[in-house]
């Protein structure tokens, strides 16, 4: 198919998806959130103040303490709108601080609930089952504090093992959903857990990947065994570039062990913002072709969530950033990698994770161009950010999996702040969409 033809197809698919987005009128609360985020994204200082506040909420010991922090941050915003002036005045009295603290805590909790589906998988049961009924699978991610000790690594591994047990029950007895349970490469587990290697060891060292691998290995191996036993999918998330070598090597080495030849279904992540991701893609697909495992390796393709971190670290050390600095370069690379992964089937299962309508439409159109059925493509979104897209994709009968963080507010804050930052970034697709950028522009090639 010529470039023009595929672009026409992407446009057609994109329009099709967009037409199935739920209308704002049906979701008044979300519209309000979007408005608040839009406001924050117009004022960098206000945005910084609000994020610092959200970030510190779990560490505050009282409503009074909350209000003192809020006013401390707002103090640094030079031009205060009227609501901010009101908040500052409230913080001058004890009663005012209590009211302000209560209101702001409620606001943060409300926001957190949009992104975090429950404190434990059991508590998230209703949400996960509701997702299933509306045509979306899930991957559960356990939020937690950073792992700095061996005891914390053990605790996280324990929580993951328990989650694998609980998830099996969550999905018991739900009606069949053909597009979520099978593709032409075989059956897909309903229970799906995403885990982080950085939480499985306190010893991930950028300059000594062996040490982290040695320490995390036994814990991850146990989880693979549990997933196999439970018939669940285990997905290993990718994090910052500092740990990429350790994580990639560890996952591929463990999955090469003979005991995992016949399961579990497992996967890892490819970050398209990394300049050298095409080489890693080759390495992964070559490994998958050689691996002789029963189930194909799921490769979740993402843009990458640590862009700011990578840039800051590179600038502070005088290094070339490992990530593309121009967003369009990441977007283009994402499309190239999409095609490579689609072409690497049946050894890999591509899972295209993006909220960018163009990237998603591109994957669907390329999949069709290759003559593959829609069921052989998985699309993934984040709970709270990709809800509308999830609904639209499900309505089209496509396989969509929603990444669902589970955990308490303290543990969830780092995740929440990252999501909020993404959502209010002026370059973010969602932000552009919310601003009403025309569909043709949103769907143009990057």
């Amino acid at each position: 198919m010529a470039a023009g033809a595929i672009d026409d197809e992407i446009l057609a698919v994109g329009r099709d998806v967009a037409a199935r987005f739920p209308s704002a009128a049906r979701r008044p609360l979300k519209a309000l959130d979007d408005k608040a985020m839009d406001l924050a994204s117009q004022d960098d200082q206000l945005r910084a103040a609000l994020f610092r506040f959200v970030d510190v909420v779990p560490a505050c010991r009282s409503l009074d303490d909350l209000a003192r922090h809020l006013s401390g941050f707002l103090d640094e915003v030079p031009e205060k709108s009227q609501p901010l002036e009101v908040a500052m005045r409230m913080s001058n009295t004890k009663a005012g601080r209590t009211a302000l603290g209560a209101a702001s805590a409620a606001g943060v909790r409300h926001m957190a609930h949009r992104f975090i589906v429950g404190e434990t998988p059991r508590e998230a049961t209703k949400v996960l089952q509701e997702l299933w009924r509306t045509g979306a699978a899930s991957s559960v991610d356990l939020l937690g504090e950073a792992t700095v000790t061996s005891a914390e690594a053990d605790r996280y591994a324990q929580r993951c093992a328990q989650a694998l047990d609980e998830l099996a029950h969550v999905y018991d007895g739900l009606p069949g959903r053909a597009q979520l349970e099978r593709d032409s490469m075989g059956a897909l587990p309903r229970a799906n857990l995403s885990v982080k290697v950085s939480a499985l060891t306190p010893l991930l060292r950028p300059d000594a990947p062996e040490i982290g691998k040695r320490d995390a290995g036994p814990r991850l191996r146990e989880l693979l065994r549990r997933a196999k036993q439970r018939g669940a999918h285990l997905h290993i998330d990718m994090e910052s570039f500092d740990s990429r070598e350790a994580i990639t090597d560890l996952v591929l080495e463990l999955l090469s062990e003979p005991e995992f030849a016949d399961g579990p279904s497992a996967g890892l992540v490819l970050q398209a913002y990394l300049r050298d991701s095409p080489a890693l893609c080759d390495r992964i697909t070559a490994w998958a072709a050689r691996a002789a495992r029963d189930s194909p390796l799921t490769v979740r393709l993402v843009k990458g969530a640590y862009w700011d971190h990578e840039i800051v670290e590179a600038r502070q050390h005088g290094w070339d950033a490992p990530v593309f600095e121009v967003k369009a370069d990441s977007d283009r690379n994402f499309e190239d990698l999409t095609v490579r992964l689609l072409e690497a089937r049946p050894h890999v299962r591509p899972a295209i994770a993006s909220h960018n309508l163009r990237s998603v439409a591109h994957a669907i159109a390329q999949n069709r161009r290759l003559g593959a059925p829609d069921e052989d493509l998985e699309l993934q979104v984040l709970r709270g950010l990709g809800d509308d897209l999830q609904h639209a994709l499900a309505a089209l009968g496509l396989r969509v999996r929603t990444y669902c963080p589970v955990g308490d507010l303290v543990a969830g804050m780092a995740y929440l702040v990252r999501r909020l930052l993404e959502n209010t970034s002026n370059e973010s697709f969602l932000h552009e969409q919310a601003r009403g950028v025309p569909l043709e522009t949103l769907l143009a090639a990057p």
């Binding site: 510190v56 560490a59 922090h69 700095v148 950028p206 300059d207 070598e245 005088g318």
Partner: protein
């Protein structure tokens, strides 16, 4: 001249860069031990009065050094006096060119120099790399700084007179350097002296003569005249002889408090025939505290405290010795900190991933173990371990809590991997305790309320306060470094005004009125 930028560290998260350093070590090892002479003018006298060994393997000799005699101290200073005229008459930019050539010399040999710091001082790779990069930074930074300083400040002018201020070099600088930044610190002090037109005599630490040789070699190869820079390996007596020498005008010293105070006392006496008030630039010890408020994020605070207290076995003047934590989160902090310290990698400096290498020498090992015994007797050791690697001067990293307020562990500089944690009522209580210490080098604060941060900034006496990050790792040009109170003379290495300590100001006012006319 291009703008200053910090020399980028090796990107050790990439395997090929790690291999580059390992190759440097493989090339260095067969060449050991190095021969470190007394090097005055073009004369080199070798010897083996001083033997520097690998702290991780005391059988391995890294360098054999001669020890300078009193007569050689005199010869070195005389040579420096002789060379002063010509060196100080060169333009600032000519001297700057030489310094930048020395930086280039080091840059070309980074893997080898890094490997030498690994071997001679047991600096783990990342730390050793930082040391060499900092040395390069000092050369580049002071070269540019001296050129800027040479332009002099603007003075107020009125009709009929021309006012001009210049800075001129003071004369001969004696540099007495420590072993813990065995390349960076001597390079910095020597470079500051040379850049501003002084001539220099370097007495490197007796534990690190090999690194000292590299500093002098780099500058000599770059074009510093032989008489303008001498190398005098030796023990404390060599430093003492330099300090009291009549013709040494400036002493740049980094090291322990007692030695620093002795230098200041000696320098106060004008020797017979002396024509200068000796100036002392001294960087001494610290008892650096990190304050942790109740709203701190322990996910950040714990790793930062561990980095600050234990990397390079706590042997940095900036290292954290105490944590003052709000009682509301003290238990959680101690539990997590102890767990994090228990998994620290104690091992050889040449192994990637090592956090806690051996300490510099047997005496240091014994000193730290003495404090550890005291900690067990008078407090609770929250993190400890049985057995450390051997051979080598290894010490287990430890966290101790519950010490009595008058415990020496809370007040004396230990310079090893022993970190004391005390509970405080609040941030003001913590500030009071910091204020009671005679030292004021670095400090840390973990707090998120901007009002708290501002309050601590106002109250702290320390020279370098780090907020919500580790308290070590000052970068040239970004975190000018140095302490106040008994921690030093308040100078800031790698800062905009450091060079002023190596010069004397001179103001010239010329009458431009002649016959009632301004000519």
């Amino acid at each position: 001249m291009s703008d200053f930028v910090n020399e980028p560290l090796f990107e050790l998260r990439r395997a090929p860069e790690r291999e580059t350093l390992l190759a440097g070590l493989r090339a260095l090892d067969p060449e050991l031990p190095l021969d470190v002479p007394v090097w005055v003018g073009t004369e080199r006298r070798s010897g083996d009065a001083i033997v520097s060994t690998d702290p991780g393997n005391p059988e391995r000799v890294v360098a054999n050094a001669a020890a300078a005699t009193e007569a050689e101290v005199d010869q070195a200073v005389e040579a420096a006096v002789r060379a002063f005229g010509a060196w100080s008459s060169r333009s600032a930019s000519q001297r700057a060119d030489i310094l930048m050539r020395a930086a280039a010399w080091m840059r070309e040999r980074r893997p080898r120099l890094t490997a030498l710091a690994v071997r001679e001082c047991a600096k783990p790779w990342g730390e050793a790399d930082g040391d060499i990069c900092e040395a390069i930074d000092f050369l580049e930074f002071y070269a540019r700084g001296a050129v800027a300083l040479d332009r002099g400040p603007q003075l107020f002018q009125v009709p009929g007179e021309r006012n001009e201020m210049r800075y001129t070099p003071r004369g001969v600088v004696a540099v007495i350097s420590p072993w813990n930044f065995p390349v960076a610190i001597p390079t910095g002090m020597v470079a500051a002296g040379l850049a501003t037109g002084n001539t220099v005599v370097l007495k490197p630490a007796e534990q690190a003569p090999g690194c000292g040789l590299m500093v002098v070699t780099a500058l000599r190869e770059a074009g510093v005249p032989p008489d303008a820079l001498a190398l005098l390996p030796g023990e404390g007596d060599v430093g003492a002889a330099l300090v009291r020498h009549r013709d040494v005008q400036t002493i740049a010293f980094t090291g322990s408090g007692p030695v620093g105070l002795e230098i200041l006392r000696t320098a106060a006496d004008v020797p017979t025939g002396g024509r200068h008030l000796k100036r002392v630039v001294a960087e001494m010890g610290g008892k650096n505290c990190i304050i942790v408020d109740a709203d701190a994020d322990l996910d950040d605070a714990v790793p930062s405290i561990v980095t600050s207290g234990f990397l390079y076995a706590g042997q940095k003047c900036s290292a954290a010795a105490r944590v003052l934590v709000h009682e509301a989160i003290a238990d959680a902090l101690v539990e997590r900190l102890a767990g994090a310290v228990e998994v620290l990698q104690v091992g050889q400096a040449d192994a990637f991933g090592t956090d806690v290498p051996p300490v510099i020498e047997q005496a240091a090992q014994e000193r730290v173990e003495r404090y550890a015994r005291l900690a067990r007797e008078s407090g609770r050791v929250a993190a400890d371990r049985d057995g450390v690697p051997a051979p080598g001067w290894f010490v287990a990293p430890r966290v101790v809590t519950g010490l009595p307020a008058d415990s020496p562990i809370l007040h004396e500089e230990i310079f090893g991997p022993l970190l004391a944690v005390d509970r405080v009522r609040d941030v003001d209580d913590a500030c009071d305790r910091v204020d009671q210490l005679p030292f004021a080098l670095t400090g840390g604060l973990f707090a998120r309320n901007p009002h708290t941060v501002e309050r601590v900034v106002r109250r702290t006496p320390v020279g370098n306060l780090y907020v919500n990050r580790p308290i070590t790792g000052a970068m040239v040009g970004r975190q000018p470094f140095g302490g106040n109170r008994l921690s030093g003379t308040g100078t800031k290495a790698g800062g905009p005004d450091y060079l002023l300590h190596f010069v004397e100001p001179k103001v010239v006012t010329e009458n431009t009125v002649r016959h009632g006319l301004v000519i």
